[in-house]
């Protein structure tokens, strides 16, 4: 495991990159404005790209440079651009009817991070000296998962839901860069492309929603029940 070989400076660089991405997830959670979500998501993706490159450099995984470039390109530029196009087309600027106030969702998010830490701490026994970075990575992976689900459940604008899903994926991607940098590259590349297709599909569906259902707010999608 490569984390056993990193020195303390390298470990703290990795940790701070990971923590910054978690903070950006909180920025998304605490904001009303759809554009801010997209900016935060783009910044988060760039951080993850930097993290990939750092892991590649510290651990000697050359192929991670390639992954980092692809991450920056797709997650950092193409996806935000696609999302901005969707937002422009919809002409919704902010999330109007979220179930929770941003402040209360921030508090809830904080609690979820603590919960994630408890689970992460419990799962980690095998990593020995690299313990703290591993626990941190696991915690952030799980908390971004929780925060993504929180965003999915308290927001109802279609774009926020897409972003919630992307936060879920970012969490996994971030965690897997630190925990399993040796994962076969094919899989990571395919997952990146998969994400691109996902967002393209969502973009098309949003248009159908607008035309055929007349709304993009999941709160008003309630024809089908029972």
């Amino acid at each position: 495991m490569f984390l056993a070989r990193v020195n303390s400076l390298q470990a703290s660089i990795l940790s701070s990159l990971a923590i910054l991405s978690l903070l950006l997830a909180f920025v998304m959670l605490g904001s009303h404005w759809l554009r801010n979500y997209v900016y935060a998501f783009a910044a988060e993706s760039w951080l993850i790209a930097a993290l990939s490159a750092a892991v590649g450099y510290f651990g000697g995984y050359r192929e991670l440079y390639f992954i980092a470039a692809l991450t920056a390109l797709f997650r950092g530029l193409v996806l935000p651009w696609l999302l901005m196009r969707i937002i422009d087309r919809l002409q919704v600027k902010r999330e109007l009817h979220s179930v929770l106030q941003p402040s209360s969702s921030l508090v809830l998010g904080g609690l979820l991070v603590m919960f994630a830490f408890v689970i992460a701490n419990h799962m980690n026994r095998q990593s020995g000296t690299a313990g703290s970075v591993v626990v941190l990575a696991l915690t952030i992976m799980l908390s971004m998962k929780f925060i993504g689900f929180l965003m999915l459940s308290v927001r109802d604008e279609a774009v926020s839901q897409i972003l919630g899903l992307l936060v879920l994926e970012n969490g996994i991607f971030l965690g897997s860069q630190i925990l399993v940098p040796g994962m076969p590259m094919l899989i990571e590349i395919v997952i990146l492309f998969d994400l691109l297709i996902v967002v393209a599909c969502f973009g098309m569906l949003v248009r159908f929603l607008l035309v055929h259902a007349g709304t993009t707010s999941s709160r008003q999608l309630q024809r089908l029940v029972g």
């Binding site: 495991m1 490569f2 689970i119 419990h122 799962m123 980690n124 026994r125 095998q126 990593s127 992976m141 998962k145 993504g148 689900f149 999915l152 279609a158 839901q161 919630g164 899903l165 879920l168 994926e169 969490g171 996994i172 965690g175 897997s176 925990l179 399993v180 940098p181 040796g182 994962m183 076969p184 094919l186 899989i187 395919v190 997952i191 998969d194 297709i197 996902v198 599909c201 969502f202 098309m204 569906l205 159908f208 929603l209 055929h212 259902a213 007349g214 999941s218 999608l221 024809r223 089908l224 029972g226």
Partner: protein, 488 residues
């Protein structure tokens, strides 16, 4: 031999999709899709025979492996693909969407292609991608009719399933991480490798990974409480797509659960994993039974019946042992046949009466003497009554339940089977035998295309209910021992 058959298996739907999309001719697309589907059905059976005779075949640098389990699920999917592509010829013409029909058939074959891919993939990561692709393609099939309802169903489907399936990805990454302590930082994430390392992975880590995977693929398979997308998607899509979603896609996702259950079998997580699968199974069964009783929409009735039967399959896997696995695998095929029959019948009735409401449908036998009889018999079969095949498979699963540690679950299973039986058939009584004076419905063309697949589904259902071939038993026993023995 099996390798060449597999190439044909994938070439046929790929070719059908390309021809449909390139030539843009509705008639050509219909026939080429049916031809591809029938080819696939013809290929899948000898493929299983070849695997059983000569053992599993590796391909694509180990990324693909055709084993008996995958080949069996391939047959189940191919059956539904063949039946519903024939039915689609009669049904889709009623929608007056001639221009978009080639697109429909292109997506339809693409959908089948991704499901076949899921069956033969040997790598947990790539398997995840195949399952994710099935969602993306089928979303547009669900929303094909472009009504407000079907668009809503498609949106809910993609949001709920994508977020659920991302949990499976997280679980897969954690499985890989756990394995990397034993097998080194880089290794091929095959089922066999995961199984080899699983027994030495720290138990809480393995447990969390398994639960994430179970919830993730369980969302896709429609296990309650993650089933919320299923009634919407299954009821709002065109009838042939409903049959594919219910009869084929659920099996493909169940395959993921079965494989991961095989991975953790024999470890210290194994017992807990089986209990978790039984728990989700029985919960799905109970929830579905209650919703079946109070259902007012005929297609949602079928959709909840899918939740019920996926619960039964989960129960069988959870009970485990030869009986449990054999019952589950037999149930997959029987459910595929029976549910296709049910959705086809529902499609006919829905188009003829122009409503999905059970209250608006009456005296079905007078309007559809032949297919109406088939639909009624199918309803008796899907409620679990002999002499139809689902009775045999449910009975086998029940035996597995009473033989093992989960007797309480088996008891609950029996009680709610009775609830389902009464609930389901009382809806059919209302549709068939309530006295009602009514005007004649419109004569819809193409009934031959819509009746033929119903016969094709019904006859094997009856035959398999009366006679469980000995060969199948030995194949199932073989799959069962491989699933837990590590040589997947």
């Amino acid at each position: 031999m099996a390798y060449h058959l597999a190439i044909l298996l994938f070439a046929a739907p790929a070719l059908a999709a390309i021809v449909s999309l390139v030539f843009r001719s509705p008639r050509l697309a219909e026939y080429v899709t049916s031809a591809a589907a029938i080819t696939d059905l013809g290929v899948s059976v000898p493929m299983l025979v070849a695997i059983v005779r000569h053992g599993p075949v590796l391909a694509l640098h180990g990324y693909a492996q055709i084993d008996a389990l995958g080949a069996w699920v391939t047959i189940c999917i191919a059956v539904v693909y063949a039946l519903s592509s024939i039915y689609a010829i009669g049904y889709m013409r009623l929608l007056n969407e001639e221009v978009r029909l080639p697109l429909f058939y292109g997506l339809f074959s693409g959908f089948a292609f991704t499901m076949f891919a899921a069956c033969v993939l040997n790598n947990a990561g790539v398997f995840w991608i195949a399952i994710e692709l099935t969602t993306l393609i089928s979303t547009f099939l669900v929303g094909f009719e472009r009504e407000a309802e079907s668009t809503e169903a498609a949106w809910k489907y993609i949001v709920v399933v994508s977020s659920g399936i991302s949990l499976a990805l997280l679980g897969t990454v954690l499985f890989y991480w756990g394995g990397s302590f034993i097998l080194g930082p880089t290794y091929a994430m095959t089922w066999a490798a995961l199984h080899r390392s699983a027994s030495q992975v720290y138990t809480p880590l393995l447990t969390v990974s398994f639960l994430l995977v179970l919830v993730g693929y369980g969302t896709k398979a429609g296990l309650a409480p993650m089933h919320t997308w299923l009634p919407d998607a299954h009821s709002e899509s065109p009838a042939p797509v409903s049959a594919m979603l219910s009869g084929a896609l659920l099996n493909a996702s169940m395959l993921g659960i079965a494989r991961f259950l095989g991975v953790v079998d024999g470890t210290r997580t194994g017992r807990f994993a089986h209990s978790a699968v039984v728990g989700f199974g029985i919960f799905s069964f109970v929830v579905a039974a209650l919703f079946i009783v109070r259902q007012t929409d005929v297609k949602r009735l079928m959709a909840y019946s899918s939740v019920e039967h996926i619960g039964v399959q989960a129960l069988g896997l959870g009970f485990g042992g030869v009986l449990g696995v054999a019952g589950t695998l037999y149930h997959m095929l029987n459910h595929s046949l029976n549910k296709s029959l049910m959705f086809f019948g529902a499609g006919n009735v829905m188009r003829s009466y122009r409503t999905k409401e059970i209250g608006g449908i009456h005296s079905v036998l007078r309007r559809f003497p032949a297919t109406g009889t088939l639909w009624l018999l199918g309803a008796v079969g899907i409620a679990g009554a002999p002499p139809f095949a689902l009775f045999l498979s449910e009975f086998t699963i029940l035996r597995a339940g009473f033989a093992g540690r989960y007797r309480w679950a088996a008891v609950v299973f029996v009680v709610f089977l009775i609830v389902v039986f009464i609930g389901f058939l009382s809806h059919f009584r209302a549709m068939y035998f309530d006295d009602f004076v009514q005007a004649e419905g419109p004569k819809l063309s193409g009934l031959v295309w819509r009746a033929l697949p119903m016969w094709l589904a019904f006859v094997p259902l009856l035959v398999l209910g009366l006679w469980w071939p000995q060969h199948l038993w030995s194949i199932f026993a073989n799959i069962s021992s491989n699933l837990t023995g590590g040589t997947q």
